[in-house]
């Protein structure tokens, strides 16, 4: 038979259904012969009833909620400027000109190679956004691939400098660019070049991962973001293979060539479990 004190200690998990069957039986056994604990159990259940009967909210329309929220969201650097209407392009051109003047003044500092820990890095990001937005459609993929490579260069450098948060930001930026470029990469004008570009990105991702792991205190979020990015590139490659047209002569389809394995860096052993997270 349980003691009075132990039973009282267990009444709340008992009422919440958190005790094992044999523990419940022992409590039941005590309560049957203990009016005081039985009364306390009723009080616990009364409290639980009050807690679970707090009512849910009535339906709320999403659109006005989002509009109000969007109006007060802080502005963060934007890696992509979506869908700028044609009439705004003139304004953008002026902005480019202004930035050109600014860049002339600070070109010694705000070189295109500025890294995320450089105070002038936001200028570089703005330049990139405008460059991409104003690019002709047929040059867009080339620029996107350049920017994707640049994000990976930054991520590798930041991983090497023990700045994992900045490395993660660059890897997220990489994913945004690759997401945007995915459709063009799946149906490229020049499939061979696109395939080579994807392989080069895989190799650079491996370089980021190596840099992250080299110091023995690798950041697991960097590692995860690299893995996700490799997965995204793999999906694009697979879709590209699946969507490539098949020649049909008469009633017999030409067999698709056997896909060649993607050239990848030699896999390294998994880091030990005691890796610490920054």
């Amino acid at each position: 038979m349980l003691s009075h004190a132990t039973t009282r200690d267990w009444l709340i998990p008992y009422a919440d259904g958190m005790l094992a069957v044999d523990e419940r039986r022992r409590i039941d056994g005590h309560i049957t012969g203990c009016p005081s604990c039985a009364r306390e159990l009723r009080e616990v259940r009364e409290l639980n009833l009050l807690l679970v009967t707090l009512p849910p909210a009535p339906p709320v329309a999403f659109a006005p909620f989002w509009l109000n929220l969007q109006a007060v969201l802080p502005h963060r650097r934007v890696l992509r400027i979506p869908g700028i209407a044609g009439y705004r392009r003139l304004g953008m051109a002026f902005a480019v000109a202004a930035i050109g003047v600014l860049a002339a003044g600070v070109s010694a500092f705000a070189a295109p190679s500025a890294l995320p820990d450089n105070p002038l890095y936001p200028v570089k990001q703005l330049e990139e956004s405008l460059r991409l937005e104003l690019a002709p459609v047929n040059e867009r993929l080339t620029i996107q691939l350049q920017l994707a490579n640049e994000r990976l260069r930054e991520a590798q450098a930041m991983a090497g400098r023990h700045k994992p948060a900045l490395a993660e930001n660059s890897l997220r930026g990489f994913r945004v660019i690759i997401d945007d470029a995915a459709a063009a990469l799946k149906n490229p004008a020049d499939p061979k070049s696109a395939k080579e570009a994807l392989q080069a990105l895989h190799l650079k991702l491996d370089a980021v991962e190596r840099e992250n792991a080299d110091r023995g205190d690798d950041d697991k979020d960097v590692k995860q973001l690299v893995a996700d990015a490799n997965g995204e590139l793999d999906r694009i490659e697979q879709d590209e293979v699946a969507e490539s047209p098949t020649l049909v002569i008469g009633e017999q389809a030409t067999p698709r060539p056997t896909p060649q394995p993607t050239l990848r860096a030699t896999p390294r052993p998994e880091p030990s479990d005691d890796e610490h997270h920054h």
Binding site: L47, F65, Q70, L73, P74
Partner: protein, 199 residues
Amino acid sequence: MAQSEEVPSTEGDAEERRLIDRSAAGDQEAFRQLVLRYHRLVINVAFRALGELALAEDVAQDVFIKVYKALPTYRHDKPFKHWLHRVAANTVTDSLRRRRPVISLDGLEQSLVSAGSDPQDVAARHDLQRAVRYAIASLPPHYRDTIALQAFGELSYDEIAKALDIPLGTVMSRLNGAKRLLRERLGDLVRPSEEANTA
């Protein structure tokens, strides 16, 4: 309406991870989709805690602003939904604590004897719910944060353990302590009616 726009959430799925990464990189359209998935959940938590829809919507906005600011530091090793629950519970209990309780517990117990559809009963039920909310808000932080996830977030013990990143035994211990204090503070309000009458 909100319901028809809801997108089913599948925790940890690739799409959600993509939305989180894009939102962290400043993509507001991706963040809009995240908010679309979870606004109902957050408004519910806030409404259970505060009891007023307009106030709940304001606090839900505060929750999403905090989330948006903190997304660049979010770690994927914890489900986004659990993290969101934690931010929501903290924000609503902070909001509750800032509001001065305007309710007297005296006399409430009598109106609890029957809580039907009579306007007086409905008003009494609302007052009682407010008393419970403020009692929760007045708890020590470690108790308050834990029971807020159960009472306002409707999370199970296991989900609370994951959201707060604490062992299940600690959740049991904290809920035990929190409910003991609540019973003390709510007094006759949590006594079954026949006992309250004879007390």
